[in-house]
């Protein structure tokens, strides 16, 4: 088995290129995923930042939603940033009508919780499992996590709100490490994918 994991980036809409770059720097083979059949070829998947309503609609429309849910249930490692975090939430506090999620993390997410674009901000964030200096958190119309279930690990908070979580093979952040050039969070995810591959090949 080739040692380099193949990680997809859901490329229906959003900052796909930045994630592809970050994953490549973190020593993964990165490729865009738009179709159900492309989903079968990856060891892990990133759901990028973008508009969660748009990504959700397109995922349903083009038949990606159901197979993605099935793979996440089967333990496919996934990482969502911002809109991607919303997509990984089992529940959205204030969904638009018909807005579906993939789920995978037992949490309730509030969309645009930190406010509109004028309130978007940068701040240092200490992330559990990321060694060294704090991560540069870029929060853009960002969601936060209202509450989590017992199985969910809280990895970071900002201003008293949960902004990074992990449950099993699913990782999510309110902020956008892909915009910073600091790829330690992506490296953490690539490690999760490697660990899953190692466990599967046993």
């Amino acid at each position: 088995m080739n040692d380099t994991p193949v990680i997809g980036v859901l490329a229906l809409q959003g900052d796909v290129r930045e994630h592809l770059t970050a994953l490549a720097v973190a020593d993964a083979v990165a490729r865009p995923v738009r179709r159900p059949e492309e989903l079968t070829e990856v060891d892990g998947l990133v759901i990028p930042g973008g508009e969660s309503t748009t990504i959700s609609k397109l995922a349903v429309l083009f038949g990606v939603m159901e197979p993605l849910r099935a793979r996440v249930r089967d333990g496919l490692p996934v990482y969502g940033t911002c809109a991607g975090m919303i997509m990984l939430a089992d529940k959205i506090l204030d969904p638009r009508s018909g807005q579906e999620t993939v789920g995978g993390i037992d949490m309730i997410v509030r969309r645009n919780a930190f406010g509109r674009q004028n309130e978007s901000f940068e701040a240092a964030v200490e992330v559990e499992g990321v060694a060294g200096a704090p991560v540069e958190g870029v929060f853009i119309r960002a969601p936060w996590v209202e509450s989590v279930g017992a199985g969910v690990e809280v990895l970071a908070e900002h201003g008293g709100h949960i902004v990074a979580v992990r449950q099993g093979n699913a990782l999510a952040t309110s902020f956008h490490p892909e915009l910073t050039g600091d790829h330690r969070v992506h490296a953490l995810f690539v490690d999760m994918v490697r660990a899953e591959r190692a466990a599967e090949s046993l």
């Binding site: 959003g14 900052d15 738009r34 748009t54 083009f62 004028n118 940068e122 964030v125 119309r141």
Partner: protein, 302 residues
């Protein structure tokens, strides 16, 4: 990319937050809307943002007169109706309109040639705002001058309100072509290139190194069909603005959804064909070669 040390306290309105916002819109469609109902139709169709304005460009063209910033009530109505980002237009150089739009909480300000310019020499100083700006450009020099003034996103101008994609193609090809040319320049040539482009040397050098603008590049002005949107994407636009093309057509909800699909699967003719079926009447459109110079919005901006 260099790793800078994180801000000790939360900081709003940084270049990264402003430009990063546009990165989140990539691969998407931004739609002109004039009522909250239209905004909801756009959101339901999968738009990544809406542009709130009183009249779509086709009507501005038809009605004539001075076109200004929209009524704050109307903008707030649209902000209240949808959860996707809301953009609104200020006149070129009308920084007070921009201040008003910022105070209303719009997510992006379009300093737009579609409205009647307020200043025929100066654009607004966009660094002075927390709200990010998108600006139009017909060529690379114009794009870089806007970025130097603080624009966090660029759209090729095209010719708004015509339903004719020819100018959009011209301007995007122009910008992409000039970027490609810069890629081929050696360091000695970049100084003269900057002079020719009438743009700051540092930005010219950055574009030569990146092979792209330092901000997101969308296309605008004349997109009316799914194939038009896919064409602009294949030519290198990272997303599209659709103005009059949707709500001046026979079945706006259907056309809007179709353009969204074609923008995501811009390189898949089968999906574009599927999306193009039975959309009803497209907007009638105007032949740009019969349009007098004085009625070309793309000429506005300096």
């Amino acid at each position: 990319m260099s790793v800078t040390s994180p801000a000790p306290t939360p900081e709003t309105g940084t270049a990264r937050v402003k430009r990063g916002m546009a990165e989140q819109l990539k691969g998407g469609v931004i739609m002109d809307v004039v009522t909250p109902e239209q905004a909801k139709i756009a959101e339901d169709a999968g738009a990544v943002a809406v542009m709130a304005l009183e009249r779509v460009p086709a009507d501005i063209r038809k009605d004539g007169g001075v076109a200004r910033m929209s009524d704050p009530d109307m903008i707030e109505g649209i902000i209240g109706a949808v959860s996707i980002p809301v953009m609104a237009k200020s006149r070129i150089g009308h920084f007070v309109e921009a201040q008003v739009l910022q105070s209303l909480g719009v997510d992006y300000i379009d300093e737009s040639e579609v409205l009647t310019p307020a200043d025929e020499v100066n654009h607004s100083d966009k660094w002075a705002f927390t709200t990010p700006f998108v600006c139009g450009a017909t060529n690379l020099g114009e794009a870089l001058r806007r970025i130097a003034e603080g624009a966090a996103m660029i759209r090729s101008k095209g010719e708004a309100g015509t339903g004719n994609v020819v100018e959009a193609v011209r301007h995007l090809r122009q910008i992409k072509g000039e970027i490609a040319k810069l890629r081929g320049c050696d360091n000695n040539e970049l100084y003269a290139a900057a002079k020719e482009l009438r743009a700051p040397y540092e930005l010219v050098k950055e574009v030569a190194e990146l092979g792209k603008l330092p901000v997101v590049l969308f296309s605008a002005g004349g997109v009316a069909t799914p194939a038009d949107a896919a064409l602009m994407r294949q030519l290198g636009a990272e997303g599209v603005f659709v103005g009059s093309g949707i709500f001046k057509s026979g079945d706006p909800a259907k056309r809007a959804a179709a353009i969204v699909k074609a923008t995501t699967f811009y390189d898949d003719p089968k999906i574009i064909a599927e999306a193009s079926r039975n959309l009803g009447e497209a907007m009638v459109g105007i032949n740009c070669d019969t349009l007098p110079e004085t009625e070309r919005y793309a000429n506005r901006g300096w």
